[in-house]
Point group: C2
Chain length 398, copies 2
């Protein structure tokens, strides 16, 4: 769902070799030039030249003492540079706006989280608020010596021909990438947008609970429910980029109508609003955060309504995930957002159902883990996609 | 799910260039050497040399008059050779054994279909019967001037560490590839095995209803129900090769227990035996083919039981496919086997449900098509995988 076309340098031999050396540094850091020569099959002279270019681009730094001119000793081991190159990740959620800046090592250098109800708010107002947040965070990153190489934004919607449908924000066919690119003109390469569940899946894959998983499913649970599907380390997007709409799997054939047009969708029993409503927690002035805290309190106290609500959500999730596991055969399932918070109540029944349903056919049952990054999964994944592009095409920042 | 390791020649520059030229001949046939030079960027001399090698391997033939020595005139357009190279596809189904031989152009040169009840039969007995069928068909292909370059077998099961679990055959952890390789020693490269739905999906992709589809779902409906998932022209297999178990998606949470360990699985309402049983057609001495014909007759007559059975199957399929479409976002869904036969009754309700469920989120609803190859989908796909390997690695037959 990358929007602006940009020239690629990755196809030239030099671009390929720079990316190859940079990838090996990322994997084996700290690593010497001699070892890089062994790892890549390139001569020592070629490696030295490529490393020198990567140092000039300030993508790698030597671990040893630094000489005049900013270059490390030729014998000193190399690592990814913790600056100045950085990626900016942003998120629009029904209940908050978020931003984070990662340096090339993946360290979080800036973060900000703004509680705000974006549901039903005019899209332009939300975009402007997000742009203001982006400018604040970028300015602070600049004070810290960082330069943002690109911006990616997570949105809770499906992308259809460059426009976003996000029912839980009230957005219909909103040209979000164009609006964001206009609101953030300092971003020379434009602003990318992607589905929140996809970016959160990548965030957990690179920095969270999905590390080490080859093929996995990230469940994004909020007002809406989506899934990010990772296969062999890559996002699976489907034929039109709309894969992963787990929230609209039918779990209750005789159930309630869903705004999507269907009936008995998972979102209707296991989405945040549905669970809170069924748990008897009114949609009052309170933030969803404090209403969720209230639900957890009632669950701890053994409140009957709260337990009926969580049991219904657990049954729905179990049905949807048995189906998804049978179709996709992932090695891991990561529960994010709301469902991570409610993991203690939800994971055991889901685990039991997934073990039973189709279990006799399969070699193993996937591991079921709560998200490690909570509400930061999507912004971390968004910023990470920028870094991942720099690593694949180092000359793109030149 | 390829079992025996074999040396690959595809990595050498010559192997790559041979494959490149062969691929362009397959795509653009009949095609001249001059046009191949334009298409590949290789010099005319290189193309002429490569074509000469492909002629020696008897993989390509010239459309014009043939000179002494079997080579075409240098100016005559080239096509894939309709022999001697051929692929053998085999299938073990609950109700039949099947074989087919395809030449490199994809033409069916031999076929045989044997009605036999393989359910609960000893696996070795079934393997021996399949091997006998393979020998008959291979001998007839030989009489026709063809040489089988490899054999692939479709099995209705899930592969776990090289062994097959096929509940509908009564097979548990059967080392099918090893047994078949032993039963067919003339196959120098061993025998490959794969899931029937996967191979049928490829059969429909290459030769049937899936042609032109980029990403699609093939529904394999028989006693068991599976799906072959094709993404960008490639099979999607999941983390452990067990993706596509659509038959064990939950469609009736309060429904019947399934041998897989789950409850309310699609197979329990839309599998062949379930539909016939619900339709009041006893599991007597009759073949499943004639029982299915009887069901169709009763549907045509307006029989109440038959219509209740098909409606329940349609509802189950609709629920499972709404889920699969939301998760996978395919551009086409192909109904195979039983469900192709019952398409006139099943397709309209499925289409309606898929259009509604999640429909407002998406750009378009996938096309829903009956299989074009009926019971031959899997053997055609199996034989096609052999041809596809020859095209990708022409020296493998040398």
């Amino acid at each position: 769902m990358t929007v602006p076309a940009r020239p690629t340098h990755a196809e030239t031999m030099r671009g390929l070799n720079l990316a190859l050396v940079l990838e090996q540094i990322a994997r084996h850091q700290p690593v010497t030039r001699a070892r890089l020569s062994d790892l890549t099959g390139l001569t020592k002279t070629t490696v030295a030249n490529l490393v020198s270019s990567l140092e000039t681009l300030r993508l790698v730094a030597s671990a040893g003492p630094v000489r005049e001119g900013g270059r490390g000793r030729p014998g000193a081991p190399l690592s990814l540079a913790p600056g100045p190159v950085a990626g900016l990740g942003l998120e629009v959620n029904g209940h908050y706006l978020a931003a984070c800046v990662l340096d090339l090592t993946g360290a979080v250098r800036q973060r900000e989280h703004v509680r705000v109800d974006n549901r039903g708010r005019d899209a332009q107002v939300t975009v402007d608020a997000l742009a203001a947040l982006a400018r604040r965070v970028t300015a602070r990153a600049g004070d810290d010596g960082l330069t943002v190489a690109g911006t990616a934004v997570a949105l809770p919607g499906v992308f259809v021909e460059g426009r976003v449908n996000a029912p839980n924000l009230g957005w219909e066919a909103v040209p979000a990438a164009a609006m964001l690119t206009e609101a953030l003109p300092a971003q020379a390469h434009g602003v990318e947008v992607d589905n929140e569940a996809n970016l959160a899946a990548l965030g957990e894959l690179w920095y969270g609970a999905g590390r080490g998983a080859g093929s996995y499913l990230y469940l994004s649970g909020e007002t809406g429910i989506g899934a990010g599907i990772v296969v062999g380390g890559e996002l699976f997007r489907g034929a039109h980029g709309a894969a992963g709409e787990l929230g609209h799997v039918v779990v209750d054939p005789g159930g309630a109508a869903c705004p999507c047009g269907g009936v008995g969708c998972l979102e209707q029993v296991a989405g945040l609003d549905a669970v809170l409503r069924a748990g008897g927690i009114d949609d009052g002035e309170e933030s969803s955060e404090s209403r969720l805290t209230e639900l957890v309190r009632r669950l701890d106290e053994g409140d009957g309504n709260a337990h009926r609500a969580i049991n219904a959500a657990g049954r729905g999730l179990a049905i949807a995930l048995v189906g998804a596991v049978n179709l996709l055969d992932p090695d891991t399932v990561v529960l994010g957002g709301l469902h991570a918070r409610l993991g203690p109540w939800l994971i055991p029944p889901i685990e039991a159902a997934v073990t039973r349903g189709g279990g006799r056919l399969r070699a193993r049952v996937p591991a079921l883990l709560p998200s490690a990054l909570a509400e930061e999964s999507a912004v971390r994944g968004a910023a990470g996609t920028i870094l991942s592009r720099v690593l694949a095409d180092p000359l793109s920042i030149g």
